[in-house]
Symmetry: D2
Subunit: 348 residues, 4 copies
């Protein structure tokens, strides 16, 4: 486990935006990570609040004070790597200031995910303030961009929904086995995906015992999916994306439909191709059983189950949106960036 | 409310198979229905158990003894109409015996839903024991077969999932606006859809905090959908059906995708066409907001929300699987069969 | 059902404070109530919003516009009776204005529950603005104050928790069978009890999969319990009250402990005494099985199950906090105040 | 972390009774434990089934075959320590056979918890088959019996409910600050406490959205509580124990009431006394905030919050019933028995 990293070689890290669920999940992983040490945490809303007051489950585990963001102070604390858990939009300034201080950043917001300022503006309705950093940022999906991630100064951590579609479709797109414009991703997410801010729709009594759709066909995670699958294949890919809300804390499940581009595909073909594609990737499991989000809960695994039908290919994909969907893959990226074992800090 | 039906004109009804959730839901509606009186209930497993012991919420409301099935005794009790809540397969004998006694039946099982013995055998893997009754049975979807239902001796109450797809697609199929082989129904159900029998997969800890798929592409509700939509349109319709399990008690939500058969369709076109199609049907609501199963909970409403995109039509459909999906539509059929107001006995 | 009340004799009612869960529950009951007609609804936050926009489940059922509160306008609309669903504190002015217009009020807030301005100030930390109305208000627990309620201009609808303790302990206190200072009420509530306002603690991810205590020993429902039990018995009664939050929408369960004041009490004694005490009260069920909140869901029943042990008496009490705990008992009070059948408008 | 235990010094362990939730939780902890290696697993019902087929979340993590129990084979596999996850009653024979083979056992059933055959028979209605082992067994509550556990051949792992009451009351009982016959423990458990067997009451739709009581005043965990608190104090202690079922997967919350034996106790006194009592015990947290089960989820912590009132002492206690309540404390005992760090294998 993390061989060669002794306790005094732990990489000093900061968590920006301590109050939300991705920060909590990051902290849970990092407090037990043999190669990391959380030495700073920032919070806009709460000056000098202890991390464990924001998140009582960490009482006695991470009692660090959360302070307002200040890149110079973070540098002085010896931080080598920062995890950004700020809201979309708010992340750009902080990331720019840290990079200027020589601190590498894994940004969990969407601010650096799309490759061009134009794409960013189209989907996020705002001009991008750091187009050069945007161009430099590496999209943090290790199964596709592992080598670039290892060397990056700035990693744009991928979205929770997109990973199910990117990883679920990559082998088919790479092999040219599906029509690239036929993809429909019907995705379902636990409520933590909506964050910890105060919204009527996030109240217990609004969500509980209810299943609903939102942003059908217009969700901002769509271009990330198309960008990565475009890289994986040989031409543009289109995804129709339809997200839904499930009355549970965590977990994303995507049922992804596509039209086959060749005849005779069998489920067995698909499984073999998927196992081959992900052979060197420890966090992708091609499972023989139908997936369920609970099987991936609190783990960094993505479970994939491809199925072939006469006129249809269907891939079922499940992951934990807070772990693999956000903070887990961020730590996976951290491991790659700091030359640790890709699985360091994960225990199941 | 149920004008003209005085207390001594209540139709005497029986509930067969009292122990399950559809029987409970039926009883909840019928004990307050001004034109019905539950005078008999049967249960295989439990001899002489009070209905309210099987379902404690009805303590003081329905304390009737449940007895083993005996068509002659049911006739002697003055029953005019029976609701069958028996498991698939077990229903055929009971229905045959009741019809022979001159008692009309609304059968909530799947035993009389498919029109031919061949189709039944293909999907249910058993020979049908009453092919003549099968031919005579009317499929109990009031929005499509209202007149035949009114006169039927035997109504095959529709499945919970199928209704979302049938009602969700009917206006599009009738108008010829979609490619009839392009339909994908991605459906999500609360756990009560699995019934009250003891199965590992129905345990709280297995379902709770988990979202999963089952019987992807091979579920037995598929042929019902295709049969009804074939009637509605002008030729065969194919549906790819993909059901999922949601950690909640009740509710079905279907996200239904199809390829448009003509260009220029707008969401506004669709809403108008849907409102026109369902103008005389009090239990179908074309809603302007995105549906949620909770909005239909404990009601007999189906909420539909059609959306047009450049290359795609999407319909969102929600209902309560125990009420509209089973026992509510059974009472709606009962109202039609006994010439009561279609909405009698429903209050929200 | 509500014999003698024809459609044109429906009592015209208003709902004040339309946006919350108790207003929704009231509307659900009232839209189907044969002796009531909702003709006005007010909302502070939302000018001219339709009721069904605030509560989409009522689409097509109650599409009334919600307007800012104005007692004169409410009078002009012909309202005879108003239901107040305003927050504590905000209710006093509105109630005063309506009473001045000759409109009778059932106030669901806590503003008129305690009998003296001193008690009110002690627990609610504010001076009461209408001490005379406070003195006049009748506490709306029909099983104890039925006759006074029938004649009241102003009914202070009881709290959700208090009813479980008041009804659960009343027979024991009346008979002098328990030590009046020994009562411990360990109560558990679904999340809707916290209302629909935006609070971190009401978010799905905060409540779900968690059980917690709050305001142990200091909750403001304590004096209501003691006030009513003091009326029922022959001297002061003290209650130690300890509320908890349960990850479910609705339901209150109280486990109430007391020291017996006499020896030889048996469970059978208690059940008989409880059945006798509540003989004429249709909404209290003394059940032989252990209660569960689900048995009372969406109903106006209170289920009680008393148990005797050598040194301890325990009463288990369950109800639905939105129905019997708030809006259901409000309609029960409405029925009494308008000389309708006590059960009018309730169906299970 | 587990200093001095190199990979080839991992203690070989077996899990008996692999199909249930405590076995799953054990496996989750042990697969990442630096000083343990799971080399055998047994299952009665399922011959030669892989562990990960019983528990798909462990796919790729523990794919070991589960075989029928055979003490000789377990010995041959080099097992030094066995964890018994068999049902109560079934455990005695297996434990006897393993001890005879020189294998130490941590038994998670209730079979060896009560000290005398008479007590066992009184509460479990059966003669004990191994009275000598019963006498020898050490009750596995590390905060009370740490030294005996370290040397034991057979540890009777404590019940989930009892630990909240034992740890919650121990400082008060030790100090003589409460009346020893006045304890009332009102406890609430998630559904996994009922195990993974097929029971109507464990179905999702029965438990979900419901709160209920069971075995009020007669539950078999009562004598364990009294036995341990009797050891801690200076005379017999009586507990009135009242368990309840909460619609959530995991977590136990106990609200424990007692009458103070001295005047003048303050909450501050209590907190200091508790912190002193548990100073050397890493898994007990005396928290300043009101506990919630979610704060302890998936961890081995017990959170305690004592409160003093004029005539009443109340202690709030929370833990995760599968981790600290069963499999976590079993691993804590394993660590003590194998001279590893008490916290080895735990990460939060």
């Amino acid at each position: 486990m993390a061989a060669g990293i002794s306790a005094n070689k732990r990489v000093k890290v900061a968590i920006l935006g301590a109050s939300g669920y991705t920060a909590l999940e990051l902290a849970r992983i990092l407090v037990r990570h043999p190669g990391a040490e959380v030495v700073a945490a920032t919070s806009r809303a709460e000056e000098s609040t202890r991390f464990s007051q924001l998140h009582p489950s960490l009482t006695g585990q991470l009692d660090l004070d959360c302070v307002p963001f200040d890149a110079t102070q973070i540098k002085k604390a010896g931080v080598e790597m920062a995890f950004g858990c700020l809201p979309h939009g708010a992340s750009q300034e902080a990331v720019g200031a840290l990079i200027a201080q020589g601190i590498r950043v894994i940004d969990l917001s969407a601010d650096f995910r799309l490759r061009t300022p134009e794409a960013h503006k189209k989907w996020y309705k705002e001009d991008h303030h750091h187009p050069q950093l945007l161009a430099e940022a590496v999209y943090g999906l290790p199964e596709v961009y592992r080598d670039q991630i290892a060397k990056a100064r700035l990693v744009a951590n991928p979205g929770c929904y997109p990973q199910t579609v990117q990883l679920g479709m990559a082998p088919l797109v790479r092999n040219g086995w599906i029509e690239p414009h036929s993809i429909i991703a019907d995705s379902k997410s636990g409520v933590s995906g909506a964050g910890r801010s105060l919204k009527l729709g996030s109240l217990f009594v609004e969500c509980n015992e209810s299943f609903s759709a939102y942003q059908t066909g217009i969700h901002r995670h769509t271009p990330e999916m198309e960008q990565v699958l475009g890289d994986v294949g040989t031409g543009p890919v289109k995804v129709f994306f339809s997200p839904h809300l499930v009355p549970m804390d965590r977990g994303i499940f995507s049922t992804i439909y596509a039209a086959p581009a060749k005849t005779g595909l069998t489920t067995e073909n698909l499984r073999s191709a998927y196992r081959e594609f992900y052979r060197d990737h420890p966090f992708v499991r091609i499972v023989d059983h139908l997936p369920a989000t609970k099987h991936t809960m609190h783990s960094n695994f993505v479970d994939l189950h491809p199925l072939a039908f006469p006129d249809r290919v269907v891939v079922l994909a499940a992951l934990d949106n807070l772990t693999r969907g956000a903070s887990g893959v961020a730590v996976q990226n951290f491991n790659l960036m700091t030359a640790q074992k890709e699985t360091a800090g994960f225990f199941y």
